[in-house]
Symmetry: C5
Subunit: 265 residues, 5 copies
Amino acid sequence: MMAALIMRIVLMVALVFGAAVSPVGATEREALLTQPGVYGTFAAFQMDHDWWDLNGEARVIAVSEVKGLIEQFSQKIVIESYLLRGLSDHADFMFRIHAHALSDTQQFLTSLLGTRLGRHLVATTYLHGMTKPAAYAAGFPESMKQALQSPAPETGTKSYAIVIPIRKDADWWALDQDSRARLMQEHTQAALPYINTVKRKLYHSSGLDDFDFITYFETDKLEEFHSLIRALEQVKEYRHDRRFGHPTLLGTIRPLDDILELFAR
Amino acid sequence: MMAALIMRIVLMVALVFGAAVSPVGATEREALLTQPGVYGTFAAFQMDHDWWDLNGEARVIAVSEVKGLIEQFSQKIVIESYLLRGLSDHADFMFRIHAHALSDTQQFLTSLLGTRLGRHLVATTYLHGMTKPAAYAAGFPESMKQALQSPAPETGTKSYAIVIPIRKDADWWALDQDSRARLMQEHTQAALPYINTVKRKLYHSSGLDDFDFITYFETDKLEEFHSLIRALEQVKEYRHDRRFGHPTLLGTIRPLDDILELFAR
Amino acid sequence: MMAALIMRIVLMVALVFGAAVSPVGATEREALLTQPGVYGTFAAFQMDHDWWDLNGEARVIAVSEVKGLIEQFSQKIVIESYLLRGLSDHADFMFRIHAHALSDTQQFLTSLLGTRLGRHLVATTYLHGMTKPAAYAAGFPESMKQALQSPAPETGTKSYAIVIPIRKDADWWALDQDSRARLMQEHTQAALPYINTVKRKLYHSSGLDDFDFITYFETDKLEEFHSLIRALEQVKEYRHDRRFGHPTLLGTIRPLDDILELFAR
Amino acid sequence: MMAALIMRIVLMVALVFGAAVSPVGATEREALLTQPGVYGTFAAFQMDHDWWDLNGEARVIAVSEVKGLIEQFSQKIVIESYLLRGLSDHADFMFRIHAHALSDTQQFLTSLLGTRLGRHLVATTYLHGMTKPAAYAAGFPESMKQALQSPAPETGTKSYAIVIPIRKDADWWALDQDSRARLMQEHTQAALPYINTVKRKLYHSSGLDDFDFITYFETDKLEEFHSLIRALEQVKEYRHDRRFGHPTLLGTIRPLDDILELFAR
Amino acid sequence: MMAALIMRIVLMVALVFGAAVSPVGATEREALLTQPGVYGTFAAFQMDHDWWDLNGEARVIAVSEVKGLIEQFSQKIVIESYLLRGLSDHADFMFRIHAHALSDTQQFLTSLLGTRLGRHLVATTYLHGMTKPAAYAAGFPESMKQALQSPAPETGTKSYAIVIPIRKDADWWALDQDSRARLMQEHTQAALPYINTVKRKLYHSSGLDDFDFITYFETDKLEEFHSLIRALEQVKEYRHDRRFGHPTLLGTIRPLDDILELFAR
């Protein structure tokens, strides 16, 4: 009977949003995930306790509504989902959203919060940043450039994701471009041994939130990731991190269906 | 039927507040938005979860009451509205209010909080400041003065608004006027390239809240805004920002009706 | 009918507390408000959202109970009321209470919190301080002493009140009395131009809360108050303010009846 | 009828806990309150708002249950009670508990939180410390030792109690024993004038909570206590207080019955 | 009757999870608790007040569900339980979980939060770390190595557990390995006298949460533990602890059944 209900909802949603829903094409998706000039938003949510006062059927309907919504928005933006529950306190799940405009991201999140499930969500952390061309790499030695460009081919999917926002001190920004480049070369050198086991992505966020950068990591080997952070703590550039983490968000990469199922049952 | 109901409410509100409600005239509005000696308040609110326990009709009535209230107050103060939901955590929307007296602003906000909708609002952040004549511009070089006075004509409306409150350190205030002017000239020079894409407005808030300044930005191009902030982080004056943001409020400029509609449906 | 109800309550309260309730006499009131050795408490409250679930009649009764209580205590302590709502986030109203003993203040506040209305109050901020003879004025130049003693006669009532608590750093307390006096003379000199437009009162709070001083201001001209704070930020003594505000409480001076009416309707 | 009910409860409690309940004997109590090697816990609680939704009878029963519990535990530990309500924000009352083992204190507090009243308590602050022999007094001059040992006989009970936790900076702990002793001698000298009016007690808490010390004060004369703190702020040792207060807990010493009665009526 | 109910539940749970549930074998358990390369999670929870609105039977069923869950997961991970209630504010109990992969820990905690009891839990603090071979011990003098390897045999179980997370400053990580080793030798020397009374375990957490280390202690003699912390505060390495505690978690080691029973009755 529950299965029948879900079936009905799925049909209903399909009708509402039209049969023509087509997610961002593979090329466009690739562009959003790899090109500079794209906005990345990390949005972490917690489910309030009242949610569980709903009966099971109401929860299933509410979850289905969210799935439909995400399908609808997948034409414009790339939405990835993470389970933070059990690893990060004060947050249950997180979206990483890539979009050409933050207004698209806002439209999605506003719609999400307006759903039956959304009314039970508490937005605990929003971080926004932009992707940009590498700022210092041009002056790096050739060998380093090559190493950066040819990590081993990815084997399978990464399991864990970590988000660490960073605020630099005023001294950092007062350094000239060359001095910063030298420090970043040392930083990059320290990170090189982990290039094949820990995937990194950098977002620039000055002015968009209370940080200067959002650093995002994916890995199968958390111990390698931990060693990478230790290595980065030991280079001079680390002295200029006025704030590092606070919050640190740790979770696992998970299909949305898996995550929502936790809240449907 | 819902439409009929809304109609009735609108009529009711019109009767209550009289037909003679006339918003601040264009000239007066211009004065409030451009002249020194005006008080600016940034008031960010979050809707509590109980709101959604009201039935749809009750929500429509409550929203209508707020619209009437704002119309009523538009004779004395200028109220602009922003949607923060989906971009700033812990806040759903924000008003920027310009008034000749903060007591007028208080009267409006107190009335707002006393409405049926207002009883579900949590006031998350209030920031207050005053507009003042430019403090340092008199000594700037002529070319800089001209550049500041002739930004390209505005084309269309700006989409995004950002509020960043700032507290200066004691060293800043201990500098003599000339030293501060020199630092502000460097600051202004760094900001000049963005004069046509990012609109700025400064409010002085020492004593009125826990900050010294509120900086307010509007832009269509968030990437330009981000670059502006990066440029400002690199001048010497930035060293004197003991607190920058915390909170940073990011939202989109939106008619009140759009925002309230989110909470009516 | 509501009027009749209120009438009945007023009578009831009058019976309960007796007809002989006489507030602190004018002389005693003057003494509490002007003499050293008096305790001042700033108590800011927020009304919880459940309050509005009471029906109108219950709210009127609850408000009336508070009025009776305040009348009763007005024999021992001086209670002044401020509306913070719409100007300070996280607080709706504030009492400033002057008493010869903090135990009297506690008795009043405990009774208040025990009323039907009080059960819906959240005490957001309590600050306590003592009035003391001026610590440094003795050594000030004669002209400064005269200026301090002869502000222009007060014209009408002040509208706004601001509370800024301050914690000094260890360096301040390590200075000898003469050095502190010199710095306070510079501070006082900077404040003199505002003596007629901004009324100030100082409370000493070391040990009674987490601050060293509570500074209290009243003014009709907020722009003058703002200029005063700016002037005080520019003297050397300001460097020793380890914490200034946090919270800054801004409100308007309002009869208790006005404030309670907001919560009765 | 209420009286009859209370009577019944008292009897019931007496039966449950047995007639043989005998509080810690006078000698043992003296030992717990004066000897080194005893654990002191400061536990501050706030009553949640739901408490008042219980009917009066249920509250009376719940309060009675707590009284019985405290009587039961008075065989092992010494429990003193303080009313913080109206003087400290975010706390209604506090227990100071002296025990030979923190596990006894835990057993009591866990039992308390398990009572009908306890289910409505929010534990806002727990501080733990140990009493130890005076660390520096051995090297003090004879006159100081004598002054410390012969305060004027206590006259009557003290009214107010203040708890100020302290965290020292790393520089303090890096000083050798002699240097610390010299600084503590200056500290003690500054405190001597208040030895008869302000009673002090020191608890060592490094590792047991986030502080190094808990300082506890009792006095009838708050103005003397305030002067004592001012005097202590002016000695060199104060520079090593990385955190002083936060929270500062201020209350009045009150029999438990008085405090519980506030929540029963 | 209650006993019968519990019996039924236990049977039910046994049926659901199968008779074949076998906890981690002794060898595997030993490995998880002693070897490097294992992940340790400290997860502290608070029970919300709504829990007590459930009737007794519902609570017994909910508690039983948790016990079954823990039995089920004991095949993969080692779960130890601690009662924080009455000793740490804002937390009722804590799990220390050792696992080969944090994803296993997440699966357990997510399942826990999905139980009927779990829906009433607030996750107040999660800390994650890894066990690693001793970093500096290789260069310690022989006598110190021996002392570290041969603590007196443990006598009985330890009663108390304390968790203190630590964040090092940038200066610490900028030191070369030799300098850090020298400082750690002084640190270890200071700790040696407590080797038989206080059991310690170190977890490395850089990148996994906002700390660099989690230090975990077990002891029967809290006064010895306190002295150990005091001794560690006095060595040079302590100057590099930018954050020490915040939170400090203090509790007693308790079988899960004891802890759950508090919430069942």
